[in-house]
Amino acid sequence: MTNSINEIEDAACILSIGSNTTVTHPVIGLRVKKAARNGAKLIVANPRRIELCSVADVWLRHRPGTDVALLMGMARVIMDEGLVDSSFIEERCENLDAFKESLKAFDPDFVEQVTGVPQGKIAEAARMLAGNSPASILYCMGITQHSHGTDNVLALANLAMLTGNIGKPSSGVNPLRGQNNVQGACDMGALPNVYPGYQKVDSAEIREKFEAAWGCSLSSTPGLTLTEILGAALEKRVKALYVVGENPVLSEADASHAKEALEALDFLVVQDIFLTETAMLADVVLPAATFAEKDGTFTNTERRIQRVRKALEPRGNSRPDWWITCEIAKKLGGKGFDYGHPAEIMGEISSLTPSYQGISYERLEAGGLQWPCPSPEHPGTPVLHTERFLTASGKGRLMPLEYKPPAECADEEYPFVLTTGRSLYHYHTSTMTGRVEGLNMLRDRELLEMNPTDAAALGIANGDRVQVKSRRGLVTADAKLTKDSPPGVVFMTFHFADSPTNVVTSPALDPVAKTPELKVCAVQVQKLKG
């Protein structure tokens, strides 16, 4: 997030798009509802009717995968009606002319036709966003999990810049990150192209810094992304894989392909707290400690580094992940893996990571700190980009965009769009929540959410067993008839191993972020007999 969770309540306007906030980030959902209660204007853009729609001033029910058209359509209204924040654009932005040029393609008729949202409603939302400052944009995987997810994010950044809603409290472009420490994992360079602190592996200067610190020579070639690694495994280019706390057999798009890839490996090591569907395929399984059994830090969605404290001894012979990895490293001759406690690891992190330079366990005792925190005296940074952007010129670049349809659209053979998400009661592949009896009682099976009109046409009643089939595979689930799903769109979670939804989903990738298009694929739905 460019901004902080607490600031949401003080926003004058909130645009929530591609986020089922009350389900996936329930406590942030409370802040949004509080803001609405305080009088903030709330715009919800979501093909599905989510809980926030009930408190929204405007609900834009656009077709899945048409976010760029919707957002550029709003930008066009803001531009045409002279609602832009001219001084912000003048001082802080560049590329306005090219951007204006690209808006020409998004005339209201075209936008209405693509998105299915009446143009009056889009204009109303645009005026609301531009007319109520500060405005905060919240988004989640409904924006990023598309073959044009990067364009979606850029479209949001455009809107924020046009309306001067970045670099000040209660504004910003705020991705709500889905996992406890996805931010920390990215910050630490658990990515193929960057070292900790997003320092590029292909920069000679940076690489030399890490080579000197670690006492070794390092590869200058950026590595493969998760999806690419699986592809490379199938082609026998990657032969050994070390999986720490991930379950790609259920979480990866086109999951059958992921499973085949793992089976094609010469050697698979999985380190986890349970024998997951992925661990079942391993040659060696290493037992890890849970969050409650170790010290460390998690970095939350607002970049706040917070202490995780050991409350229990690790179960049985399980061990903290850092300890296990260090032991493997030492056995392979690695130097510099003799840490006695995570505090020492944080010491090394802060010495090599400019944005974490001011972080230490001593300071974290007094509460979390938001990066960038470049020195031991620095108080942390609740709001990013207050003076300049991280571009060469320091200015925010308005990005011309074009609308691209999803990689796979509904057609005669596969007439429905399947979109996926989470349930409130489970988490990701249910490795943890599936082992909490009470949560299973609240939600124990996969459901295919479907509009009653569509169901009626197929003779499907509430609770009927249905088969959902795409070009990649098929799964079964119980039908749940609900107007939360618009006609033509069906919805499933990916929590349940016995209905592995990702067998069906599309592996089409965003060309920049390499994120799979989990939010749109074409399926057919059929009632199963008996």
Partner: protein, 346 residues
């Protein structure tokens, strides 16, 4: 400070912020005024009548609803005040199940606080004795119990569900002595719109809403929830190697004490019998338990042959930042490749 207001409680000069109620200002200064239905997270309600005070020159008032004013003189103890709040307290206690020693809220109960402050006389209570409620206990929710026999009708649960959650699963039903907190149609809470967040359970001042299998922890550890990216601060209550209670950390800027159903109740996995407790090595298609030494030796001997770009690592958005640092350092410095990613995109 511009918005600072000076007034007096029982002759003591107090400074308060404009807009604060008398009760809020008093509690902030460590002055106890009996109360049940007031909660700092919620709008003033004025239902229990226990926080009655006398405002000099104005008469009796409920302190939870009256904002402080410059120069007010508040009297918390007088025969009139005493009489009103004693009756209010006695009426509540007379119809309450007084099985305190068996109650999960024992010693942490606002009704006990009120009773011990006001002082209860058995003789007076007996005169008031009327039919004790005997309502069925609603244990339909997997995580908490609703025992309306212990409910004091403070409305905190209703207001929590409405004001904070905007869910509105419950409301007052019926009238007079028959008043109850109920779901639509009086159905079990599990069949209502309840999202099981437990925010009402955390705020219930008495034993009407308590967690199932409530156990008092030996100690609490401040840490961070392991589910989504909000990073809610939690107090893990542990006892005998188990997590027995979880509370939201009110001092955490991420959640200010709020939690969702998973963050409050979703930790049984930690001690689940399915937990991996030993390294496993696959031999002839089946897993066999091994020592760490054996497993690590095998991993190291195999991985020696795959250094460079034929090796890859999936790190994790679930493990700590320090864990991730070590994993990426190992992959890059020891295995010599940047083939490293995690499920940030999933």
């Amino acid at each position: 400070m511009l918005d600072e207001i000076k007034f007096a409680i029982d002759g003591t000069q107090i400074k308060a912020n404009k807009g604060d109620t008398i009760l809020k200002a008093a509690l902030k200064h460590g002055i106890y005024i009996p109360h049940l239905c007031d909660h700092p997270d919620l709008e003033p309600f004025g239902g229990c009548r226990l926080c009655m005070v006398e405002i000099k020159g104005k008469g009796l008032s409920i302190s939870c609803k009256v904002p402080v004013e410059e120069g007010l003189e508040i009297i918390t103890e007088s025969p009139e005040v005493n009489k009103v709040r004693r009756i209010a307290a006695e009426l509540l206690i007379a119809s309450h199940h007084v099985d305190c020693l068996e109650c999960a809220r024992n010693t942490d109960c606002k009704l006990q606080d009120v009773a011990s402050y006001i002082g209860i006389e058995e003789g007076r209570l007996k005169r008031l004795k009327r039919v004790i409620k005997d309502l069925p206990i609603d244990d339909s929710n997997p995580f908490f119990i609703r025992d309306l026999n212990k409910c004091v009708l403070c409305g905190i649960c209703i207001r929590t569900c409405g004001e904070i959650l905007n869910v509105g699963a419950i409301d007052f039903a019926f009238r007079g002595t028959g008043t109850l907190v109920a779901t639509v149609g009086g159905k079990p809470i599990l069949q209502s719109r309840c999202v099981s967040c437990g925010e009402c359970v955390a705020r219930c001042p008495v034993g009407a809403l308590v967690p199932k299998n409530a156990e008092r922890p030996t100690r609490e550890v401040s840490t961070v929830c392991t589910y989504c990216g909000v990073g809610c601060g939690i107090k893990l209550g542990v006892r005998g190697g188990r997590i027995v209670r979880v509370r939201g950390d009110v001092n955490s800027p991420a959640n200010r004490g709020n939690l969702c159903v998973k963050g409050r109740f979703g930790y049984d996995f930690v001690n689940h019998p399915d937990r991996l407790t030993s390294p496993l090595i696959k031999r002839n298609g089946a897993f066999v338990e091994a020592t760490f030494e054996e497993a690590l030796d095998l991993v190291a001997s195999k991985l020696t042959d795959y250094k460079g770009d034929q090796f890859a690592t999936f790190a994790s958005a679930r493990i700590t930042t320090e864990d991730n640092y070590v994993v990426q350092k190992f992959t890059r410095a020891v295995m010599g490749t940047n083939n490293l990613d995690h499920c940030a995109r999933l």
